[in-house]
């Protein structure tokens, strides 16, 4: 069986290759799916591409896999230009969003399929297929057919099949999206563990931000065929480079504020700006719910940061509280133990933690 993931699995110990995408462009009719995309994935690194539907993340992965041709740009893997190489010769393992096991083959035959194409002896491919199935914890299911195992197991077999050929690069195209929440979380962790153990360079495409932030060394947030920001998950979340990234990754309160100097004044509080070059004037400040804390207000006072709780959403360890401030509503994310003291209708006082905030231009004028 596999060994647990330890700190020893550092970037230095990985044996993957570097993947470099330069100026990739792909157009479908009038629609530009990729608009000069540049991306470099380090050896053994796992990069997740995150973005809304139609942003070009799957197109990027398909171009890298060779399943589609780029209109412009180059793809190099381990220093070798593979832009015009056919998919069957690219040496990449891929796990698809849809269940892709060959229905007429057993689990073992599926995993051994790529090895058979490489003319590896029957004994050797059986040995390696079982080894891969052990890696994903499915060696007992080797004799079963795809329709006899669950969706989560099918995706694990697909992962074993992709890894069995010992590819240079592993491509994961939303492999967890068809699974239920619990299986998804388990398989996500398993993919990460195996990726670290094998040390393979991996591109993971997803629209699920939690998935991307949990699994990746670096996350690339995409919009309109371009990468808006590429960086470690913590940087993407806590220091978004653009308003789009801030709003796409995590929840964001949009609060009216005024920029002056290096800070923005939001409801009487001065908050530091991420982008110090922001010109002075009215803006919409983007404040994370976890930067907002609440305290019961028994005095019955009023002020810009005093409001009434209108809803509490239990999320497990944390709870999300919606507070009506009179002219707007604000979301606060608290530890559930703190949120239990509150109830709908109770008056609260808000505090906004002075984290650096992004602003997104002038606030929209709302009609009363």
């Amino acid at each position: 069986m596999t060994s647990p993931v330890t700190e020893a699995h550092s970037a230095q110990s990985r044996a993957g290759v570097e993947v470099r995408l330069q100026g990739l462009r792909r157009q479908y009719g009038q629609v530009v799916a990729l608009d000069g995309l540049d991306l470099t994935i380090g050896p053994g690194e796992l990069v997740a591409l995150l973005g809304p539907s139609g942003c070009g993340k799957t197109t990027t992965l398909r171009l890298l896999a060779g399943l589609e041709d780029a209109d412009n740009g180059t793809i190099t893997v381990g220093g070798k230009d593979i832009t015009h190489q056919s998919a069957s010769k690219r040496d990449m393992g891929m796990v698809f969003q849809a269940y892709s096991l060959f229905p007429h083959m057993t689990v073992r035959e599926n995993v051994a399929f790529g090895l058979r194409l490489r003319r590896i002896s029957r004994a050797e491919r059986d040995r390696r297929a079982l080894e891969m199935l052990e890696l994903v914890g499915l060696s007992t299911q080797a004799g079963r057919y795809a329709h006899q195992i669950s969706g989560g197991q099918q995706q694990r077999v697909a992962l074993a099949r992709a890894l069995a050929i010992q590819p240079q690069v592993l491509l994961l195209d939303e492999p967890l999206s068809a699974l239920d929440a619990k299986v998804r979380a388990q398989l996500r962790d398993q993919i990460r563990r195996i990726q670290l153990e094998v040390g393979i360079t991996t591109l993971f495409v997803t629209h699920d931000q939690e998935e991307a932030l949990a699994i990746a060394d670096r996350v690339g947030v995409m919009q309109d065929g371009r990468i808006e920001q590429l960086g470690p998950p913590t940087a993407i979340y806590s220091r978004p480079a653009t308003a789009f990234v801030a709003e796409f990754v995590g929840l964001t309160n949009r609060l009216v504020g005024t920029v002056s100097g290096s800070s923005v004044t939001v409801r009487g509080r001065d908050l530091p700006l991420v982008d110090l070059s922001t010109p002075p004037g009215p803006v919409t400040a983007l404040v994370r719910p976890e930067a907002v804390t609440l305290a019961s207000d028994s005095s019955g006072g009023s002020g810009p940061l005093t409001g009434t709780v209108i809803a509490i959403t239990f999320l497990g360890a944390t709870s999300r509280v919606t507070v009506d401030l009179g002219d707007t509503t604000i979301l606060a994310q608290l530890a559930t133990s703190d949120a239990t003291a509150l109830s709908a209708g109770s008056r609260v006082t808000l505090t906004i933690r002075p984290d650096p905030v992004l602003v997104s231009g002038a606030p929209a004028v709302t009609e009363e």
């Binding site: 998919a87 069957s88 229905p103 992709a162």
Partner: protein, 283 residues
């Protein structure tokens, strides 16, 4: 409160679910009765004339007597066995043409040139709209021209039969292709290193085997029952042989015994094909 809640829940849900379950069972029973009724009616519609035909062929010369003479006489016709043989060969050849030409073509169109599928569908379904007699008018000069130089056996009919079988084979094969995710399966295979031939032969074909079998059964059924084209192009197959036998014999019983035998023959053959295919599918 906690103890009361589940009971209250049960009380609320039970009256709602029990009638729903019985309603569903009642509907299923009614549906089954309807199904059996329709099956029986259609069965009688098809089987009664056949039973009458068999009964007539077994009647003796005297009223109320029974005889198998009309059945034993079938084998006494010298050309009949040859006609059966040629018809079987025609069925095999036509199936081979469908298997070799149509199956890979449709898979290739599905995988690589999907934009052409409408035009191909139109072409494949076209023979349905052309009466056999019109087809013969078109084919006769071609066959005559070839016959002027080479003597052609009835096996040459397979080209005409392949055209006639095209719409049925096409529908069966397309249904099979629609039933599998060819795009994902082929992409998965290609990412593992498979070329296009391997994708078609090792991945797509095995998964559409039931559809291929259906196409073969329909093609065989068409060839076994084909009469017009063979007769008008002056070739002899099973159906034209039966027609000649019926014209030559004075015994009406032979006419019916040969027709029943031909039907039985086709039925048994198609059953064998179907069973063989099912066994392969299970494997």
């Amino acid at each position: 409160m906690a103890a009361v809640a589940p009971q209250a829940f049960e009380a609320l849900t039970q009256p709602a679910t029990v009638p729903r379950r019985s309603m569903r069972a009642g509907r299923r029973r009614r549906l089954n009765i309807f199904r059996y009724l329709v099956f029986t009616l259609f069965g009688l519609f098809f089987l009664l004339p056949l039973a009458a035909m068999v009964r007539f062929s077994l009647e003796g010369t005297k009223a109320g007597s029974w005889s198998v003479a009309a059945w034993t006489q079938i084998v006494s016709y010298p050309n009949l066995l040859g006609a059966i043989e040629i018809t079987l060969e025609l069925a095999v050849l036509t199936c081979a043409v469908i298997g070799v030409l149509v199956v890979p073509t449709l898979i290739w169109i599905r995988l690589r040139v999907r934009w052409i599928s409408r035009a191909v569908e139109f072409l494949c379904l076209l023979p349905l709209t052309i009466p056999a007699i019109v087809l013969v008018v078109g084919l006769a000069p071609i066959y005559n021209r070839i016959r002027a130089h080479i003597s052609l056996s009835a096996l040459q009919l397979f080209w005409a039969y392949a055209i006639l079988a095209l719409p049925y084979a096409y529908r069966a094969l397309i249904a099979g292709l629609d039933a599998i995710d060819t795009k994902t399966l082929s992409e998965a295979a290609r990412s593992l290193g498979a070329g296009w031939f391997t994708v078609i032969w090792r991945v797509v074909v095995p998964n559409m085997w039931p559809a291929i079998l259906n196409a073969m059964i329909l093609t065989s059924a068409l060839v076994l029952g084909e009469f017009t084209v063979a007769l008008l192009l002056l070739y002899t197959n099973l159906q034209t042989s039966l027609y000649y036998i019926s014209r030559e014999t004075a015994n009406a019983g032979v006419l019916f015994s040969t027709s029943a035998a031909a039907l039985l023959f086709a039925f048994v053959l198609l059953m064998i094909l179907s069973l063989a295919g099912r066994r392969r599918g299970h494997r």
